[in-house]
Amino acid sequence: MSNQTQDMNQKNGKLVIKLVAIVFGMFGFAFALVPLYEVFCEITGINGKTSDTAAVYEAVEVDRSRVITVEFITRTNTGMPWEFTAQTRKIEVYPGEMNQVDFYVKNSTAKDYVAQAIPSVSPGTAALYVNKTECFCFNHQPLKAGEEALMPMKFYIDPQLPKDIKFFTLQYTLYDVTASAQVVAMNQG
């Protein structure tokens, strides 16, 4: 009888270990979803994020057979008091052609701020074909109290852009990252 109980305990123990392993595996999977989600969105471009690294403009053929309209929208997140506007609201470009658009920012408060711009393209599928060689959104942008600046953004549209996209919107949202930027600066200092 006690032998039987021991066998049963062993059998139960083995199964419990396997089940607990599944539990820990799934807890890890929840966190693995974060990079998986990013990679998935980067490959498919479905969340409208453009690449956050600079592209190289090299041997790109300009496709003069069609014109793409690009519209620029700027907004600031809740609690971000800067002025933020695009110097050009709308441009018409050939795929493969290099373009520059400047964005104007002004910190009219009495406080120093650090900002981070986050891009979003709509329709999202166009995001994969927006190549930026230079963008203010690649870095934190600090402005002292009362300062203003013109921030450049240079980009070209990949000529591979699907034919059905004739128009897209590129939106930048400016976030206040002053608090976290100071923490980073302190850690580095």
């Binding site: 089940l19 539990v23 969105c41 599928t125």
Partner: protein, 529 residues
């Protein structure tokens, strides 16, 4: 007294229940723990119900009159959390504790001491959650789905308590699920093969696998909310490179299987009750097993139907729409099988059967409104309206909770040895049935007309319907007090003694042991032919 207990322990392992509070605190007996779970779930049902009464009182008239909007938000949030994690899930776990060992011919659950723990950490979790309501700033007010950034950037300081209590609830259900799986895998009586197991055991086994697969994902999601809010990470903060929409993906990857966790055991219960009172074998046993399994598997690939309006590409919307609609096939198989079981059966309408029949009709209504919500273009109209509220209350209240009530009425005489008060039970059934429809059916109409959910005020044209909804709500709330009275009477062992079989069409191992079920059953495993 304590010496007497120790002596008993020494002399005879097969002692009866010890008395007093220690019996309940230290118990490792599956029947005691089942009773604890069921009472806990019922108390939480009344607490969460009281919150629903606050919500319906505020919505009785347009305008703000009883509570301020922030408290209203706390009520909708905590009502949802309590009903999901405090009422429905513990009630099913309680039923599993009572019934699974008796149905498979096992003397107890496989891991009795863990069983004790998994129950006794639950009251702690809900004390923390409820206590946060009385703290400065109030409790969680971001909805039970705690979408970021509502739960991160815009939440109050008690969010840490919310996170901690959800962690404990998760640990409790994971331990419960592991226990169920180990019990069913290793402790079946000789001859109890997989395809001879009662469907309640099958559905619970599959539910337990869903639980261990998705509760850790919920734990991960709340942990990310915690670190985003308090430790400066940016999982869901766009400024730091995160994505708030990703929260919804992670949450609903847990959330959709979760809704099946709350309905699969109900399918098992209905599959036990319908054959008994139709006096026929269940039609299509094997197809029921396969249908349950396929519902469970499909539940992992439909999560984004909760997010159609987040701006997904049309290909993804089509995929999730069709995958969702596919689930209606196995669900339809189940409803068909129940109806086919009743076909030409010698049906009688005892109280458990009444609840089971109401379940089939009303759950199907909830299923059909779910099918409407699955259609992408119309979901853009229905999203976040009272139509959604009507849908999930039909599947959860008249679905899950009606099945739990059916189960309690069905097995209560086995547990107490006495027939419950049938007059009170019929009052409870009819009052609940009428009021629950007055409560939830008009929600479809105000939802289609555009009344948004989770808002303490509404446009004047919704006033008449809301008055009816609130009256139905109060009546449904009061009807549950009849149930409370009935349960207290039953626990005091009032009523006519019943036979071992209790219901004359009942089949299964639990009906072969005497009523009331002795403290220890199946010390020697029965042989199943």
């Amino acid at each position: 007294m304590s010496t007497a207990t120790t002596e008993l322990d020494h002399d005879d392992h097969h002692h009866g229940a010890p008395s007093g509070i220690k019996r309940w605190l230290y118990t490792t007996n599956h029947k005691d723990i089942g009773t604890l779970y069921l009472w806990f779930a019922f108390i939480m049902f009344l607490v969460g119900g009281a919150m629903a009464m606050v919500i319906r009182a505020e919505l009785f008239q347009p305008g703000l009159q009883i509570v301020d909007p922030n408290f209203f938000n706390q009520m909708t949030t905590v009502h949802g959390l309590i009903m999901v994690f405090g009422a429905v899930m513990p009630a099913f776990t309680g039923l599993a504790n009572w019934l699974v060992p008796m149905m498979i011919g096992a003397p107890d659950m496989a891991l009795p001491r863990m069983n004790n723990w998994s129950f006794w950490i639950l009251p702690g979790a809900f004390t923390i959650l409820l206590a946060s309501l009385f703290m400065e700033g109030g409790g969680p007010a971001f909805g039970w789905t705690f979408y970021a950034p509502l739960s991160t950037t815009y939440s109050n300081d008690t969010t840490a308590l919310f996170v901690f209590s959800v962690h404990i609830m998760g640990i409790s259900s994971i331990m419960g699920a592991i226990n169920v799986i180990v019990t069913i895998f290793n402790m079946r009586a000789p001859g109890m093969t997989w395809m001879k197991m009662p469907l309640f055991v099958w559905t619970w086994l599959i539910t337990a696998f869903l639980l261990i697969a998705v509760m850790p994902v919920l734990a991960g999601a709340v942990t990310m909310v915690l670190t985003d809010k308090y430790f400066g990470t940016s999982f869901f903060d766009a400024a730091g490179g995160g994505d708030p929409v990703m929260f919804q993906h992670i949450f609903w990857f847990f959330g959709h299987p979760e809704v099946y966790i709350m309905i699969l055991p109900a399918f098992g219960i209905i599959s036990a009750i319908i054959p008994t009172f139709s006096r026929k074998k269940l039609f299509g046993y094997a197809s029921m097993v396969y249908a349950t399994t396929s519902i469970a598997l499909l539940s992992f690939i439909v999560w984004a139907h909760h997010m159609f309006t987040t701006g997904m590409p049309v290909e993804a919307e089509l995929f999730f729409m069709f995958a969702t609609m596919l689930i209606s096939v196995p669900t339809g198989v189940k409803v068909f099988n129940w109806v086919a079981t009743m076909w030409r059966g010698s049906m009688t309408f005892e109280v458990p059967m009444l609840f089971a029949l109401a379940f089939i009709v009303l759950f199907t209504i909830g299923g059909l409104s779910g099918l409407m919500l699955a259609i992408v273009p119309v979901d853009f109209q229905y999203h976040d309206t009272y139509f959604v509220v009507a849908h999930f209350h039909y599947v959860l209240v008249t679905g899950a909770i009606f099945s739990i009530m059916a189960a309690v009425y069905y097995w209560l005489p086995k547990w107490t040895g006495k027939m419950f008060d049938v007059t009170l039970a019929k009052w409870h059934f009819w009052c609940s049935l009428i009021s629950v429809n007055v409560l939830f059916f008009p929600m479809h109409f105000v939802g289609l007309a555009g009344m948004p959910r989770r808002i303490p005020d509404y446009a004047l044209q919704f006033a008449d319907f809301n008055k009816w909804i609130s009256l139905g709500g109060f009546a449904f709330g009061l009807s549950q007090l009849i149930f409370l009275a009935l349960l207290i009477k039953a626990c005091r062992k009032q009523g006519e003694p019943v036979s071992a079989q209790v219901w004359d069409g009942a089949e299964g191992l639990e009906w072969e042991i005497p009523s009331p079920a002795p403290y220890h059953t199946f010390d020697t495993p029965p042989v199943v032919k």
